[in-house]
Amino acid sequence: MTDIKHGDIVLAAKGITKRYPGLVANDRIDFEIKAGEIHAILGENGAGKTTLMSILFGLVQPDEGEIYAFGKKVHFRSPLDAIDLGVGMVHQTRKLIPAHTVLENILLGHPKAGTILDMKRAGEEVAQLCKHYNYPLDLNAKVWHLAEGEKQMVEIFKALYRGAKVLIMDEPTSALAPPETEKLLESIQVMTRDELAIVPFITHKLPIVLAVSHRVTILRRGQVVARLDTKQSTEQSLAREMVGRDVIFRLERGKAARGRSILRVENLSAFDDKGAQALTDVSFDVHEGEIFGIAGVSGNGQQALAEVLAGLRKAKSGRVLFDDAEISHLTSLQRWQKGIGYIPAEQRTVGSIGNFSLVENMLMNYHFDDAFSKWGFLNEKKARQLTEALIAEYGVATPSPDVKARGLSGGNLQKLILARVFSRKPRLIIVNLPTQGLDVGATEFVQNKLLEARKSGAGILLISEDLDEILALSDRIAPIYEGKFMDVIPAESAVRETIGALMAGLEKKAAA
């Protein structure tokens, strides 16, 4: 790092254009990053962020435009070229091998790893790096044992050990618990003091952008719409540039009449797919007209809980009561018929069937309805009318209800799933990560729909890892950590920091 001075332009893109059939993903984009700078790139889904990121890392070649690294024109044919020139990437879906140790992951593909791995020397060098950034890591631990924040640091250290001077980070704070986010932000600020250049790509979580970055480049529909100094911008101004209109950040939760208890869960325990205990002795209830928010970083048992309640997973022990009647033994279909709706986190694999049309996907929650299927025959006309009406009502952007679901964007698909579930007027809605991966506009829509359902008297079990979402929507909040509720806190007395700490397992129930 000796030959780079503060403020040198380390990576620059000039006039980057990339066209796909029917779409200009990147339209003459200019971008530069200086040593010691954090330069965020903001944009909604579909704004061209992913394409730009792939071009900067050598995964995709631009149709036009040039890339300069350290003042020299370069041509990245593959990520390897980018890595060799000092561009490191921290992926949103971790590019690590869970079964291997931290050190093995860091050494994988390293040009100086040697024929016989010199684990001792490499271990000392990486430990030095960890020490420098004040982030202790057990280098011999298997990666699957690590928390999400630690895995991300392993990716960062991997890039740094390989000599990265520029770090591209894809949605760096998604999937992190709030304390982990703070730790990450601290670490990357230390890195800028070492003249590293950091380029986070961000869809939402605007406060984080404001907290750490120096400059922001905002993309919309493939073009740069704004370049701002962070100091001179606000959350509102950033969002306006991203979306192209004003976005309301304070959701009006309003009052809803809290009715009687509709769902009771008693001492529920369950295993995950690998047979490990995912959920331990969880008890709670959800009332009509209430949003019960479960706040936690993914992988703490929320998935198992949602699946048990939806009838997709067997509980190990405990009871589930709906309307005071036990439903533990009921199938998923029987639960739908009783009025329990489920919106899964996996839109593409559980929430929809990619190769089916929108009409067929709509039927997934209507096929058991006599109006839509009689004597084994589907009433296609009726299904089509319903789909068309719901597409209009929910503003699903699609040329026709006959296109395959796989063609819809994440936001539109989620609207379709929401339409399907809400139109059945369920009395209880279990919703897992409803706005995961959605952009600001779609997120706002989904959250408002949940509030509408609450207002009309449905009980809602909201599972989310976005603490802001939980705080904005929930009437009661249960932070979950390693399969256990850390507490159940009414919204009025919820303190952001306390819940953040509980989500990371930092404080025990003593506070309550």
């Binding site: 590019k95 690590l96 079964a99 291997h100 593909g109 040009p111 790893a113 024929t115 047979g275």
Partner: protein
């Protein structure tokens, strides 16, 4: 009594070498269910070369070479063409079964060379097998190429972005894997039972395949498993060596397979997988396609 142990060790050698080959391939994510076919090729070609040239060395080299070729063929279908590994592996078995019967038929009968000397009845290949196990362990877990190999078996896309050539690494492993299978066939036909006969293996390759799962992809557990199965197999061939008056050897013959099914059933339980389940290479059986 000793004769039984010695013969068991010799039988286990064949399982050991063949299964070690399969293990190397599977660690890189490529499953070859046609172990039996590759072994048949190695055994038959090795036998023919040794019989016509009178040289054991040439026979073994031929067995290894034909194994490598079979490995490369499997690689071409499952890596380059991205085909289904199980279907292609079955193809290799059927091809080996048919083609070796055709090629080997004129050579039916004993090898007619002086037997390879043994140590107190134990074949030198047993000791070679143990050395190969140790070397394979070292390469897999202590060297750069081993790390790359295991990585392409766990998650090839991660390996790719780390700068590993996934295709080359998988080819390397699948060809090495074939060489071991060819050698195992050679050991069978030139040392263990030097008589050529139609479809003489009758399931050795499939037991080797099962042993890899049994071993949790660990070469040293594989060594233990091979010795256990060698003993069970030998028992099924000559139960009278251990028990004077016993049930039919056809009953004994089922024992290795019953144990295999039992072990695999145990391994698929939740109890087992929650303790040891992480061992299986995650990308096993999955062709790698770049996005």
């Amino acid at each position: 009594m000793w004769e039984f142990y010695a013969r068991s060790f010799n039988a286990s050698t064949i399982f050991m070498v063949a299964a070690l080959g399969e293990l190397i391939g599977q660690r890189a994510g490529v499953m070859n269910v046609g172990v039996e076919g590759a072994m048949l090729f190695g055994a038959t070609i090795g036998f023919i070369v040794a019989k016509t040239t009178g040289s054991y060395l040439l026979g073994f080299l031929a067995a290894i070479a034909v194994g490598a070729a079979i490995g490369a063929l499997h690689g071409f279908f499952s890596i380059t063409l991205g085909g289904d590994q199980v279907v292609n592996g079955m193809g290799i078995w059927i091809l080996g079964f048919g083609l070796t019967a055709y090629i080997g038929y004129p050579y039916t009968g004993p090898l007619g060379l002086e037997r390879i000397p043994s140590v107190a009845g134990i074949s030198p290949f047993f000791f070679l097998g143990i050395v190969l196990i140790a070397v394979a362990w070292f390469v897999l877990f202590k060297t750069n190429v081993g790390l790359k190999l295991r990585s392409v078996g766990e998650n090839p896309s991660v390996a790719e972005v780390s700068g590993v050539n996934v295709v080359r690494t998988r080819y390397l492993s699948v060809i090495t894997s074939g060489m071991f299978m060819g050698l195992a066939g050679g050991i069978y036909a030139l040392d263990y039972n030097p008589v050529w006969n139609y479809n003489f293996l009758m399931g050795w390759g499939f037991v080797a395949l099962a042993l890899v799962f049994f071993s949790m992809w660990n070469p040293f557990i594989l060594l233990g498993g091979s010795v256990l199965f060698g003993a069970l197999w030998q028992l099924s061939l000559n139960p009278e060596l251990l028990f004077e008056d016993t049930v039919s050897r056809y009953i004994w013959r089922t024992v290795p397979f019953v144990v295999t099914i039992g072990a695999l059933a145990l391994m698929s339980t939740q109890w087992f997988s929650s303790r040891w389940g992480a061992a299986k290479p995650e990308a096993l059986g999955m062709p790698y396609e770049k996005d």
